[in-house]
């Protein structure tokens, strides 16, 4: 039997072969410069993405450690391990870290790595902006942790409700740093969203029409659009909060005509879509993993895409279900109940389509698929409790109780972290060239799955028994003791499993089996190039003939009398030239020259950070801080004569 994993791969690679002079020239062109300066000026999307992934995972571990301490504190009633001050910082930092510094950014980081590979191109759009987004994110996140270790961690919750977060009830700089961190990370998210949208629309390989885009790329495209609409809302909120605190405006002060509930509307108009920003990429991972391990294309591609889009629309229509306990008009509440429940339908479409795909597949139970199956169990359960929360009367009982804590972790860990771990196992070889250990992977999965359920299932019961969330302690005899202890034991198991994952990831860097281009026999383009990919991703840009190009290429060819094109020729090897294609049907459109690596995005990010940190202390920082930013941006965009010369010469000989 012929080996499908080699045949199509080599077919799509018959540009300049590895080792040829052109290939070497391409590699040199797209490689980031060496040395520390080179490291700081890197713009290659894979380099940025690797850092981004490691950084976000670092934040995941940090956020997890905070949660672990919280669970230790709650293991027994009346525990004195940490007092209310520290505990309130812990849960605020935990929430902020997981939502702002891990969940959305890690998805964007993985996307930045994979998208150009999946779409068959050499870079993301706006590579310098991409680098800038990473630096901004890193500095914003570090700032939050630095102030935390200096003893000034924010302590009013990741949702920072006013007036508690306002100038009267949380004096000091804690909340100011928090608000600036929000503006930072959301700026980064916005920038990445623009990068993703442009990449998906304009940089697809020729032939990758809209209905051949990998579902993962669809998920990220929809997510990016949601980011564009959701993030400005929270940036507006955090900025008005900080002006209330520092400049003396009264947006949220009822005594001066402001409104405390305004904050909640702004926050949840972002905060609810945020949940889907985390969840949709997870769906994208699942839709990439299932076909590969079921050895057949996804069932219901179009339905899946429509479901993604429907979810995105609905997600903006139900933020109020976080505010049912605020006195709201009756009719409005019924509307939001209906909207919140109906969003289950697009999710159901996706779940049924996955099951249908598995149904007629030929399954290969590797670790990534295990995580997908774990996802099913956990997410569907979390979805059911979501339906309960959508109902006003039920929500009024369980809102702000541990029931919600259980629900949200089922949805976020089930809907995002399990798929993400699956994705790590699945794409690890594409990043490192080696496979992760299956044996450790299984341990990792089972410990995580069991530990997760042991930790979070009891919280449903705790909520029903009336335990409110965000309490640093509780009294004995309320029926909460055993359940809390069990939950803490579960947290220990989760910690062990994450540790195992890290051991596996680090060990496999050296010891893992060599992967080759396509270790899973998958069908999408990222597997057409070596693992890890060369700096330019593809020595020859592939031409796509189907949804699973590596599976379908030979078929497409057989159907034609004349041999179909398999790759694009004619792109320059000694300058960063790219092929842009049309939005709908991905016909070759333009040849664009991409910018070279430069230190200026880094410098700009430092300058922006200076402005933001300064502004926590004096409004004048906004004035003086903009000068270095202007200088850095000017240098960033200053045209270089040598580049212009290259562009002109390319124009002359097409």
């Amino acid at each position: 039997m012929d080996q499908p994993r080699h045949a199509p791969a080599s077919r799509l690679k018959d540009g300049p072969g590895p080792g040829s002079r052109e290939a070497a020239a391409l590699d040199a062109t797209w490689r980031d410069p060496p040395g520390v300066m080179g490291w700081l000026s890197a713009v290659n999307h894979k380099a940025i993405a690797r850092r981004f992934i490691v950084t976000t995972f670092g934040f995941f571990v940090a956020g997890g450690l905070l949660a672990f301490v919280m669970r230790l504190q709650l293991a027994r009633p009346g525990s004195t391990l940490v007092g209310p001050d520290l505990y309130n910082q812990l849960f605020t930092m935990h929430g902020s870290t997981m939502m702002f510094l891990f969940a959305v950014p890690v998805m964007q980081a993985v996307t930045i790595y994979l998208l150009p590979l999946m779409l068959g191109t050499r870079s993301v759009a706006f590579p310098r902006l991409n680098a800038f987004a990473y630096w901004i994110f890193l500095f914003g996140g570090l700032m939050l942790y630095v102030v935390f270790f200096l003893g000034a961690g924010p302590d009013v919750g990741w949702f920072s409700y006013v007036p508690l977060a306002g100038p009267d009830f949380s004096p000091g700089k804690r909340t100011d740093f928090w608000a600036q961190m929000i503006t930072f990370t959301e700026l980064s998210a916005l920038v990445e969203a623009i990068v993703v949208i442009t990449t998906v629309f304009k940089l697809r390989a020729p032939g990758m029409t809209l209905n051949r885009i990998p579902l993962f790329a669809w998920a990220m495209l929809v997510t990016a659009f949601m980011i564009l609409f959701a993030m400005p809302s929270v940036m507006l909120a955090s900025t008005t909060l900080i002006t209330d605190r520092l400049v003396g405006t009264h947006f949220y002060n009822p005594a001066e005509g402001g409104d405390a509930v305004l904050w909640q509307h702004l926050f949840w108009f972002f905060g609810h879509p945020e949940v889907y920003l985390i969840f949709l990429p997870g769906l994208g991972f699942i839709s990439a993993i299932i076909p590969t391990f079921a050895r057949r294309p996804m069932f219901g591609y179009t339905a899946m895409v429509l479901a993604l889009i429907a979810t995105a629309f609905l997600a903006f229509g139900l933020w109020v279900h976080h505010m049912f306990a605020v006195n709201l008009p009756e009719l409005g509440k019924s509307f939001f109940t209906a909207a919140s429940m109906l969003i289950a339908i697009p999710s159901a479409v996706q779940i049924f389509c996955w099951i249908a795909t598995l149904w007629s597949g030929r399954l290969d139970f590797k670790t990534p698929l295990l995580f997908v199956l774990g996802f099913f169990f956990i997410l569907v359960l979390g979805g059911m409790t979501g339906i309960m929360l959508a109902s006003v009367p039920l929500d009024l009982q369980v809102h702000d109780s541990y029931f919600v804590v259980a629900h949200l972790h089922y949805v976020l860990i089930g809907g995002a972290v399990f798929p993400l771990f699956g994705a790590f196992y699945y794409w690890y070889p594409k990043v490192t060239g080696r496979l992760m250990s299956e044996r450790l992977g299984r341990w990792n999965f089972w410990l995580f799955f069991i530990g997760f359920n042991v930790a979070f299932f009891p919280m449903h019961l705790l909520g029903l028994r009336g335990m409110p969330r965000r309490v640093y302690t509780y009294q004995a005899g309320l029926g909460w003791d055993t359940l809390n202890l069990v939950a803490t034991v579960g947290a220990v198991v989760i910690a062990v499993s994450v540790l195992l994952f890290m051991v596996n990831a680090v060990r496999s860097l050296r010891r893992g089996a060599m992967a080759g281009a396509n270790p899973w026999g998958a069908g999408t383009l990222e597997w057409a190039t070596e693992s890890p990919p060369p700096p330019c991703n593809f020595h020859a840009i592939p031409v796509v003939h189907g949804r699973e190009p590596l599976w379908e290429a030979p078929r497409a060819e057989a159907q034609r009398s004349s041999p179909a094109f398999t790759h694009v020729g004619g792109l320059a090897a000694d300058t960063r030239e790219l092929l842009a294609t049309t939005v709908l049907d991905a016909r070759p459109d333009l040849r664009v020259n991409f910018p070279d690596p430069t230190i200026w995005p880094f410098v700009s990010a430092v300058a922006v950070t200076g402005l933001f940190i300064g502004s926590v202390f004096t409004p004048w920082a906004v004035v003086w801080g903009s000068i270095p930013i202007a200088i850095a941006l000017t240098a960033w965009f200053w045209p270089r004569r040598s580049e212009t010369a290259v562009h002109l010469s390319l124009e002359r000989k097409p």
């Binding site: 309130n88 219901g300 306990a325 039920l394 809102h399 109780s401 029903l464 028994r465 078929r555």
Partner: protein, 321 residues
């Protein structure tokens, strides 16, 4: 205090309606969950086994799979239908709760403070109104309308065994109602994060037979009794000349401050400091000597007293029945 604090143990019509809705929702969701997982398990069992080397099955590319499509459509129709049932049930429950009769209701005004509850019994006759803290007494079988206000930040009023929660928001007034049908003590707790001591912001709803409630209310209306001569009387002096009187009120005495809970009948309450301690002389001493030890961050400062003075003060407070 022995008390009930459980969504699934409803003791009033409000919590009861929600409980019924809960049972329905749980049944439907449980069913759907089981069905989806069963479908998944069947899929896993009947699907073949493959590996990275096996050729992908491309037989479905470009060819619709009508059987599968119908199955998915049917599953979708069924789930949509069930969801509509749940939406309808939820809206009906909501309406039923809104229509609940409040004739002849007892009117309360609850103001949340960081981190305790002020409760005002609003009677038609101003003179009949009175204030207490952290403990609400209600007659059984009579609806109670609670007006909710917040003094500082957002809090949330929640007695799971009686009704769902409602936020107390500075600058706004909200209301809720409940009715306790059985005698008992129901625990409630602040549900919205409100700062340092959000964890220790509990309260109790004591439901009594109407006659007993009337007796209690009559007692609460009266000012604090004159302490007997001896240590209690001296205790009152200590109270008045130390910092206590700067924050607390005791009706019938010069202490009229409103920063802390009204202490006129504090000895009749079951707990201290919003449910943090039981109301015994020893706990009371510990509390007064160092509240930060028990409830770090509370706005009540420690009070240094000699042990006789402390005994006298607590002796006096014990007379405030």
């Amino acid at each position: 205090m022995d008390s009930l604090h459980h969504v699934l143990a409803p003791f009033g019509p409000q919590a009861g309606h929600v409980h019924a809705l809960w049972m329905l929702t749980l049944a439907v969701c449980g069913l759907v969950f089981a069905a989806v997982l069963a479908a998944l398990l069947i899929a896993l069992m009947r699907a073949g086994r493959g590996n990275a080397q096996s050729a992908p099955d491309l037989s479905t590319v470009g060819r619709p799979e009508p059987g599968r499509r119908h199955a998915v459509a049917a599953a979708l129709a069924a789930s949509t239908l069930l969801l509509l049932v749940l939406i309808a049930a939820s809206i009906f429950t909501d309406r039923a709760l809104a229509r609940m009769s409040t004739d002849g209701a007892l009117r309360l005004e609850v103001t949340a403070h960081q981190w305790w509850w002020e409760v005002r019994y609003v009677e038609p006759q101003v003179a009949d109104s009175f204030i207490t803290a952290n403990e609400i007494h209600v007659p059984t079988g009579r609806p109670v309308i609670v007006t909710l206000k917040a003094d500082d930040v957002i809090h949330s009023f929640w007695v799971p065994s009686l009704a769902g929660k409602k936020d107390l928001i500075p600058g706004r007034t909200t209301t809720m109602n409940f009715r306790a049908d059985r005698e008992g003590v129901y625990r409630g707790q602040c549900a919205e994060f409100c700062g340092s001591q959000h964890a220790l912001m509990a309260f109790f709803v004591v439901a009594d037979a109407p006659e007993r409630y009337q007796a209690w209310a009559a007692a609460q209306r009266s000012p604090a009794p004159e302490p007997p001569p001896g240590p209690p009387l001296r205790g009152r002096e200590i109270f008045m000349r130390s910092s206590c009187a700067m924050c607390h009120a005791i009706d019938g005495t010069p202490a009229q401050a409103v920063r802390g809970p009204n202490l006129t009948h504090m000895a009749s309450r079951g707990t201290l400091a919003a449910g943090s301690l039981s109301n015994t002389p020893d706990d009371l001493k510990r509390w007064i000597a160092d509240p930060q030890q028990i409830k770090p961050g509370t706005y009540m400062p420690a009070t240094q007293l000699s042990s006789e003075d402390m005994d006298a003060l607590v002796g006096y407070l014990q007379t405030l029945r």
